[in-house]
Symmetry: C2
Subunit: 112 residues, 2 copies
Amino acid sequence: MTQPNPPFMTGVPELLLLRILEQQEMYGYQLVRSVKQVTAEAISLGEGVIYPALHGLERNGSLKSRRKAVGGRTRVYYSLTRKGKKRLAKLQDDWRRIQNGISTALEVPAHA
Amino acid sequence: MTQPNPPFMTGVPELLLLRILEQQEMYGYQLVRSVKQVTAEAISLGEGVIYPALHGLERNGSLKSRRKAVGGRTRVYYSLTRKGKKRLAKLQDDWRRIQNGISTALEVPAHA
DNA sequence: CTATATACCTTGTACTTCGAGGTATATTGT
DNA sequence: ACAATATACCTCGAAGTACAAGGTATATAG
């Protein structure tokens, strides 16, 4: 077991999912691989993170889903709603603000 | 009340506090202002965040404190231990990894 | 002499990520 | 034919975490 509440991960699943689904419709199992890929292996989210996140996002109206049978198996494809686009924009702003703040704090050793 | 568990903030107080105290000893009330300053106003942490964080960091051996009377008032100054320096290094690594992953994910519109 | 700034602190709330475990069908290897 | 793996969905409990609000007390400023 990794430690719970790992640093800097709060909000990251939500941001990544919305960002990926903004570009194209995808299903859960596929998103597990896609997250790894688009972050250049830097971030990996398990199914225990992806599925609940997807459900929450759909519940609050950021995503909509449709079921699709593919070779005897059922996939649930998710895509962004208008609300999801707004949510993504806000999360990106939050991210950039915090990212800037921390960058500023980490540069300038000042004691050199 | 702001929403609980705000996005991207998990681990940020710990990182910021360790980073600032790495450069110089400070007391809690002073750190509230310092955090704002070193992040160029991008991030602001209240006393309800700072004090518990300081206590936790001291409890786990990352910080040491000494009390100092200043004009009839008592201040508790905190500074980094060897363990705190290691913890800071690890947090910085985590931060950079995630920051890189998200940057990669956010660039390339690809659908342009 | 009252209001504000300094300086410390605690409590409760409302989240969150994560691993582990569970079901079922299709595909691949032998 | 049969076993193992990959695909595809899901739930639950654990262990935190940041935050606002509220509380105490002393010094300084209006």
